[in-house]
């Protein structure tokens, strides 16, 4: 039995039956990380010793028959979640040596439920990027290869690229991600795994390093929809320390995965059929429509007329918030400091050296769109358009229960492609951003392979706080697709 190929659901059973120990399970994954991380660069920090200690404690708990939902399950934690006593970098030079004296709510919830953290996964610096090439700790390699191109290094997507690559390559059984405009869903699609961005307010943002506060939302990434449901069950929940956390009961997500879809109305938004969409993306989408129809869903054409403005709106709102959120990195209380003679010179030197090019670019953009004379033309206008986008979704959800779209306009691309022009890079998020702008839950699930053998994801978008419908529809697609393909680079083959 390959322990690294198990699902979380299967591992839970195996651990409880004592088919294998947590030490064996975690050990197999740590060994895989040791073999593969040098190549994939999926982890910034590997906490092997702590993980093995935690595994031994998990075995004690399991021996007493007191297992919590995630006891002994090895996970990767995106290095944007602050972890008490474990370096947390946001993939930035700025926080290279930052050791938080606190644990984020989401990771604390996972620890409460017995999870074992194998380490902190790589990401685009401060979660800004769609290819995981903007990391101060180096780019992440997608474990998938184009057919016949074993030497071409593909990007894993971003910003949760390290988490996606680690899960796809079976270095961990699941991982946390954060999604601001697609940072869970797009890398999940590129790496052939599942990932859900829950409703804004479902997972606490407390202790997670902020990029754009009105959009940031944590979520799980795993190889199956059910595993995502299991992880989300632990991660989600009301938190008094986050004023935007919503006090709304967390339902049984795992149960939702098996739900019968008969009578579910699935909307197909016309506006997502963008000009120039690759035929294979459209084909995958059409297959998804057919699978859901076969599962008993009613397919409805819907219109989200303001969707096409989602991306431009996002690239005003997110940089604006980031320009303010990242002002705290000033070299005074934590993080990097480049000493200089005056305070302003120190700020400028510190922030120039501490932030990478994309982060600096977005801070500049955000500063500009909020500045005197431009606020109305950019920021205020964007927030109005954002309201129109949200209303689009509200109207659509009066007609249908979920929406089905592609996750991304292309499969994973190669490092070096699309890198000259920021706008070309931003377009990778064209399908994922609108749901972020509206705050509604959305999930990517693998649906098939592209002509050159790369995974393609489909996106299910649901009503606010109805992650159950999203999980149910995603499970149906997962079953119909029977996506059993595995990446070229993975634990059991390398």
């Amino acid at each position: 039995m390959m322990l690294t190929e198990l699902t979380i659901a299967a591992a839970q059973d195996g651990l409880r039956r004592r088919d294998f120990s947590a030490v064996e399970l975690v050990g197999a994954h740590i060994a895989a990380i040791e073999r593969l991380n040098g190549r994939l660069n999926a982890f910034i920090t590997v906490t092997a010793d702590q993980a093995m200690d935690a595994a031994r404690r998990a075995d004690d708990v399991l021996a007493k028959g007191e297992a919590a939902p995630l006891t002994g399950i090895p996970l990767g934690i995106k290095d944007l979640f602050c972890t008490d006593g474990v370096r947390t970098t946001a993939a930035s030079r700025m926080l290279e040596n930052f050791v938080p004296p606190y644990e984020s709510t989401v990771t604390a919830n996972l620890l409460r439920d017995g999870a074992v953290f194998a380490g902190k996964t790589n990401l685009d610096e401060f979660a800004m990027g769609s290819a995981n090439i903007n990391s101060a700790f180096g780019a992440v390699e997608n474990p998938w290869k184009r057919e016949g191109e074993a030497d071409t290094v593909l990007v894993p997507g971003g910003s949760s690229g390290g988490s996606a690559a680690a899960v796809a390559a079976s270095l961990v059984m699941g991982a946390t991600g954060t999604d601001t405009g697609g940072s869970i869903r797009q890398p999940a699609s590129y790496c052939g795994i599942a990932g859900i961005k829950p409703t804004y307010g479902r997972c606490s943002r407390w202790g997670t390093i902020a990029f754009a506060s009105s959009l940031d939302q944590a979520g799980p990434m795993a190889r199956t929809v059910e595993d995502c449901a299991i992880l989300l069950q632990s991660m989600a929940g009301f938190d008094l320390r986050d004023s935007t956390s919503v006090d709304c009961p967390v339902p049984d997500y795992r149960a939702a995965c098996g739900r019968d879809l008969k009578g579910m109305k699935v909307g197909i938004p016309a506006e997502y059929r963008v000009a120039g969409m690759p035929a294979e993306i459209e084909a995958a989408w059409n297959k998804g429509i057919a699978w859901l129809r076969d599962a008993g869903c009613e397919i409805v054409e819907v219109s989200l007329p303001y969707t096409k403005y989602g991306l431009a709106t996002y690239y005003i709102v997110a940089p604006a918030e980031c320009s303010s959120n990242l002002a705290r990195y000033d070299g005074v209380r934590f993080g990097r400091r480049v000493p200089a003679a005056s305070l302003d010179e120190q700020y400028e030197a510190t922030r120039r050296a501490g932030f990478g090019a994309e982060v600096r670019r977005r801070i500049m953009m955000g500063t500009y769109v909020l500045s005197a004379g431009y606020y109305d033309a950019y920021y205020l206008r964007a927030q109005k358009v954002r309201n129109l986008i949200r209303r689009d979704f509200e109207r659509a959800f009066q007609q249908v229960d979920v929406l089905l779209t592609p996750t991304a306009p292309s499969p994973a691309f190669a490092q070096g492609e699309k890198m000259d022009d920021p706008v070309q890079m931003y377009l990778n998020d064209v399908f994922t951003v609108p749901a972020s702008m509206a705050g509604v839950p959305a999930m990517s699930v693998p649906a098939g392979l592209s002509a050159n053998g790369l995974p393609l994801g489909l996106q299910i978008i649901g009503r606010s706080f109805d992650e159950e419908a999203v999980l149910a529809a995603a499970s149906a697609i997962e079953r119909a697709a029977s996506f059993t393909h595995r990446p070229a680079l993975r634990a059991e083959v390398v």
Partner: protein, 482 residues
């Protein structure tokens, strides 16, 4: 009262508006659970939220909101049931997050008014534009190290109310009266201690000048003035400076200035002005603040009686003069003290004793009402002894001084020192006779028509009785014999 600056080109009028920053009285900070109390070892009243650590988030303190609402009600202002928090972005050493959470577009309190009374007895109304909640910054210390400034974040995140007046103030005196009245209202409400020395109340002063009938000219903002006297001085000095500029053919630049009381000048803080662009936008970590009308009403229902209302009531209920009532309501504690003394007694007598002897004694001994050895009940007890004839007014002064020294009750002092007033007519008659016997010459003069000597005899009798004779009875006995 008109205030005119005489320039070479004729008279100029003064236009002043004040922005007062008042520290909210609360246990914990506006958005964190760290202590809001003054003092404390450096960086001990600091949470990771206050220090702006990554991933830390603000959660608002209900009491701070309630304090703002109470203050709004006290200023007879509109309470905005929905308000918002914005980020004011700027970099500074004592601003940990790089932005101050404030209320820019939607403050919690809208228009209100404060009535002020001037020395000539005239009354003016100064409009309140708005009141909003915001965070205080930390403190930089520049004198501890040759090359570095040290940062203490104990104050960072403490709640402030910024109270903005309309540019209705026309004289330095009005500015002083406005600040005193505002401070009085805040103290009555218990929303700010109004202590300008400790910085819990500070004023930014907007000053401009104009010729009569003109629209407003450019104003300058004098930042962070920390006493009422300095505010009045700064206004005078700044107005004179502006008149000088205008009359010299120049124009006043809109800028932030600093008042230097030692040099008696204001000077430009141009360095701070440099590229100010606060980039306000709604704080995405916070949702709109919605307060229920019923909650506002419940806060209003238990609001203390405010100085204006109390003064009117003192006048009508106790029949004391407006001026006395004004003195008594200046502090809540004074007003309470007076009411305790006055209740069930002669309120005018009570007012005279409280304002005269009691305040005099506090001043003389450097004490406050709180640590005064004479309590309101104690002073009332002494007045009771006057009223029931146990002591007379003159002896009462002695008793009062004794009480001040020993902290004993008036009755105990009277008992210990045997100061009970003599009403035994036999004893009085005997004393009268003894005085007449000893002053045969004066008696003869009196009888020959020198009526004024009656007072001399009264004094002699009282002296013989060690001041304890009942003055009315002594008078009656003398009249009978003479």
């Amino acid at each position: 009262m008109s205030y005119v600056i005489e320039g070479r080109t004729g008279p100029w009028e003064l236009v002043v508006g004040l922005e007062v920053h008042a520290q909210v009285i609360s246990q914990s900070k506006l958005f964190s659970g760290a202590s809001a109390s003054y003092g404390g070892e450096p960086n001990t009243h600091v949470s990771l939220v206050d220090a702006g650590f990554p991933g830390m988030l603000p959660v608002i303190n209900r009491e701070c909101v309630a304090q703002a609402v109470r203050t709004g009600l006290g200023l007879k202002a509109r309470i905005n049931l929905e308000s918002r928090f914005d980020r004011k972005n700027y970099f500074y050493a004592d601003l940990p997050t790089g932005y101050q959470i404030s209320q820019f577009t939607h403050p919690i309190v809208g228009e209100g008014a404060v009535e002020i009374e001037l020395a000539d007895g005239s009354i003016r109304t100064i409009g309140i534009t708005r009141l909003h909640l915001e965070q205080d910054a930390g403190k930089s210390m520049h004198d501890q190290d040759p090359t570095r400034s040290f940062i203490d974040l104990n104050r960072a995140g403490v709640a402030l109310m910024e109270i903005v007046s309309e540019p209705d103030i026309r004289t330095p005196e009005e500015a002083g009266a406005y600040l005193r009245k505002l401070r009085m209202i805040l103290r009555y409400l218990g929303t700010c201690d109004g202590n300008m020395e400790e910085g819990s109340m500070r004023a930014d002063v907007n000053v401009s000048v104009r010729k009569a009938g003109e629209p407003f000219r450019t104003r300058c903002e004098i930042k962070n003035v920390n006493s009422i006297r300095y505010v009045m001085q700064a206004i005078e000095i700044e107005a004179a400076r502006q008149v000088e500029i205008w009359e010299g053919g120049g124009s006043v630049d809109q800028e932030t200035r600093l008042f230097d009381p030692a040099r008696g000048e204001t000077r430009s803080l141009r360095s701070k002005e440099d590229a100010h662009d606060y980039r306000y936008f709604p704080d995405p970590d916070l949702l709109p603040l919605v307060v229920e009308e019923a909650w506002v009403e419940s806060l209003g229902a238990v609001l203390p009686e405010l100085p204006d209302a109390k003064r009117q009531r003192f006048q009508s209920e106790y029949g004391i003069p407006r001026y006395d009532a004004g003195v008594l309501v200046a502090e809540q504690a004074t007003a309470d003290f007076y009411e305790t003394v006055a209740r069930g007694r002669d309120p005018r007598l009570a007012a005279n004793w409280v304002i005269g002897d009691f305040f005099g004694a506090l001043n003389r001994t450097g004490r406050t009402i709180q640590d005064s050895p004479i309590t309101a009940e104690g002073l009332g007890g002494m007045l009771d002894l006057i009223t029931d004839g146990t002591i007379n007014g003159k002896i009462a002064k002695d008793v009062f001084e004794d009480m001040l020294e020993t902290g004993e009750s008036a009755a105990a002092v009277v008992e210990r020192r045997g100061l009970r007033q003599v009403t035994d007519t036999g004893a009085i008659d005997a004393a009268v006779q003894a005085v007449l016997d000893a002053n045969q010459d004066k008696l003869a003069e009196y009888r020959s028509g020198k009526d004024k000597l009656f007072g001399f005899f009264v004094g002699q009798v009282m002296k013989a009785m060690a001041g304890k004779g009942n003055p009315a009875l002594v008078n009656a006995a003398l009249k009978k014999v003479l």
